[in-house]
């Protein structure tokens, strides 16, 4: 009787041991998977706010960030479109993720939407059409937008004051299209200097680009990502 008892206890012990090992094995594999997933998780860049006057390249820039075909039919943007969790791959050794991107029209009636977006976004990008920067009326509107954006920041309750980055588009159609080191020369332009000076301590980076040129747009995105993570 005692022998049967011993064998039963032995069997129970073996069963418990194997169940325990299975449980440990299962939990370990779960932990490893979680660790690997964390390691491979794209790095979060935060939410982007993008705006500018009509035909400044907002939708094209957003299309580039989303990996869309930007060479199709161009259309005026009529409504606000919120995109979440955009994966950026192939620009660096690791992947990045933009938490939120909002595409909306550059019309005057969207200014309040823009100011609200600036308030809650991590990175702010104002788009300027370099082809039109010398036009008096266009420059006046851009300066008005920047002025309102800067003022809105200064009365914001947020402790973090976002810098306003400027993306200069249509470089290939501007007066700087043939220049090699267009970046530095651009910043000496009187109209652009007026815009940048208006920003005061809100001034961020300046990115000139031809969004329809692959190397130019890739360079732009790399610079943007680099500046976001540093």
């Amino acid at each position: 009787m005692s022998k049967i008892k011993d064998y039963a206890l032995l069997a129970l012990g073996a069963a418990a041991l194997s169940a325990g090992s299975a449980a440990v094995g299962y939990l370990s594999s779960k932990l490893v998977k979680r660790f690997v997933a964390e390691e491979n998780k794209p790095k979060a860049l935060g939410a982007f706010a993008i705006w500018g006057q009509p035909d400044s390249g907002k939708t094209t820039f957003i299309g580039l960030l989303m990996g869309r075909d930007i060479y199709g039919k161009k259309e005026q943007t009529l409504s606000k479109d919120v995109k979440g969790r955009i994966l950026l791959t192939g620009f660096f050794d690791e992947d990045f993720e933009i938490q939120e991107l909002v595409d909306m029209p550059g019309t005057k009636d969207r200014l309040n939407d823009w100011l609200a977006l600036v308030e809650r976004s991590d990175h702010v990008f104002y788009m300027i059409n370099l082809q039109r920067i010398s036009e008096k009326e266009y420059l006046r509107k851009v300066k008005l937008d920047i002025d309102k954006t800067v003022k809105s920041r200064s009365v914001s309750n947020s402790k973090i004051r976002r810098k306003i980055n400027v993306v200069g588009t249509h470089l290939d159609q501007s007066k700087w299209k043939d220049l090699d080191d267009s970046h530095n020369i651009l910043q000496q332009d009187e109209s652009l200097r007026e815009v940048m000076e208006l920003m005061g301590d809100a001034r961020g980076y300046f990115y000139p680009a031809n969004l329809l040129d692959k190397s130019s747009s890739t360079r732009l995105i790399k610079c943007v990502v680099n500046d976001c993570i540093n």
Binding site: P54, D55, S79, K80, P105, G106, D109
Partner: protein
Amino acid sequence: MIVLIDSNKPVYLYAQELDNSGNSICLSSSVSGEYQDVSASSSQRDEILCFLDQVQRSGRRWWISSQEMECITTFYGDCLVKLNPVTRDCVGRVAPIVVLFNVRSAFRSIVGRVLLDSEKFTSRVCSSEQRAQIFRLQKMLNFHWLVIYFHIIFFSRKRLND
């Protein structure tokens, strides 16, 4: 902010200016052939834009849509009709016109007229196919709102938003 256009609200017409000046045209109409301008700084304009965004974001493509004219509806009966006229903006982009209304509204009877009049207010020209689609839409909207509503329920599909 959820905005519903109820049966008392007029039909709205919205489009951006072709000169890319940042201005936009926004008119309301509750009497056939008569239009009132909706100021850019008014709260009514904000409501209209909110409605536009909402329907674009979550609306369903109605069967009556075609290549010439897109109709997006919600189960509340809110409707957005988007036309891409032949006319392009000053840099060659497609320059759509949008008309907003609710199918329960008595003013749905003037939607066709508003769409046709949109050409003169927005300086755009629609194609003959688009004008034919407008007449087809108005025929549908002339039915009792319950008929239209059930049609929307059975003949609208979720849109593939990329």
